[in-house]
Amino acid sequence: MSSKSSTTSRSTANGNGHGSETSYEEPSISQKSSQGSESNSGAETEIEKVEGYNISKPWESDKEVSNGKEFAAFETLGETSLEETGTSLSGSEVQLLDAFYASYSELIPEAKKQMEEVIIGTDNRVRINPTTSFPWRAICALKITAQNGSRWIGTGWLVSPRTVITAGHCVFMHDQGGWARSIEVIPAMNDGSRPHGSGSSSVLRSVTGWTQNKNRENDYGAIILPANFRPGAVTGSFGFSVKDDAYLKSSVLNLSGYPGDKGGNQQWFMALKPKSVSSRIITYDIDTMGGQSGAPVWIKVGESRSAVGIHTNGHTSGNSATRIVTAVFNNLLTWKNLGL
């Protein structure tokens, strides 16, 4: 099975007034027409204005945007922690698979070594069945209807009762009319079984780095579910955190989602250490297929699970996730609070 993979973001909402409350300081930019040997000492840089190149202010690429729809006004909490805990609710239902691949699996080095040695060229995914225990039940199949009516499948994960985190390209598709018309969210879907029901929403969030600039590094977004559908209150929810390079490189990453080659209605899981880590992308050889966009990439320490990435891309050189860095974390926290 092929391993598939692979840029900056500003948080954008679909126009419902939940825009970023952060003030972005405009750096002073000196614009001089130098025709001689003018000294560049101390000069500040700016971006050339090039037609078709829209990233005029990279520091704004994580500015939130929405599709202008909302269910109700919510007050954003003023939390600033870079480790946001999830809720597993029933800890006794923790699955062994996930535990096996826990971040501290160096305690079982032989098992981990075997996993790494058989990954290349083979499909090492395993089916999650049943999906009724945590964390699997907090992972959702997505049935997406784009603005132009085309249909797609993807994956998302609950971070609060009504907030589902996913890839930016699952909520905003540049070449399919922009913001999705609607997305059906089915937590813990398992073939014909929908143990926590399902709900549709068109209240979407992403960032300008994705919606305006199509920047791969800013490929993340969120779905806010209707007030009468609160699956996360029952399933529990993922935490998320910002981790440094060394920590990520030494951790086993867990990834579970709804791949299209299995019909899009079954949850499949795999775990492996990352192949590489860059400032905004995590690359790995975890096998994935179309339909797993938006899946959580998480680490597990004890009974604590924390997402560190959002799966987005495939490529034979390595599949990859948008890394949760501080700017991403802050947006996820804002969106989480919208769905409390």
């Binding site: 993979s5 249909r151 499948i153 899009g264 994935t288 297929m289 179309g290 797993q292 495939g314 490529h315």
Partner: protein, 85 residues
């Protein structure tokens, strides 16, 4: 600078009838691609979204309890891929 775009495809069976509700996804390509999958409509239409063009991609089509792989060379967004499934 790479150019990304969307390409439309049409899926038909051997009798020429449109194949609906098939899942179409990229499994290999000359460039990286979004890991989502398209679902064909009543006319058998599907899309490959946000891919680098020109480029070579291998598609996997899943539906009616069978699967098929097809390599496609995308030269422009005006290309319409026709696949017999």
């Amino acid at each position: 600078m790479e150019t990304r775009g969307s390409v439309k495809g049409i899926l038909k069976d051997e009798s020429g009838k449109p194949v609906r509700d098939a899942i179409v996804m990229i499994v290999d390509g000359s460039s990286d691609f979004n890991d989502m999958a398209s679902v064909s409509n009543d006319e058998g239409e599907f899309y490959i979204s946000n891919v680098v063009i020109p480029g070579r991609y291998v598609l996997q089509i899943q539906g009616n309890d069978q699967q098929k792989r097809k390599e496609v060379n995308l030269s422009s967004t005006d290309t319409v891929i026709k696949i017999t499934y």
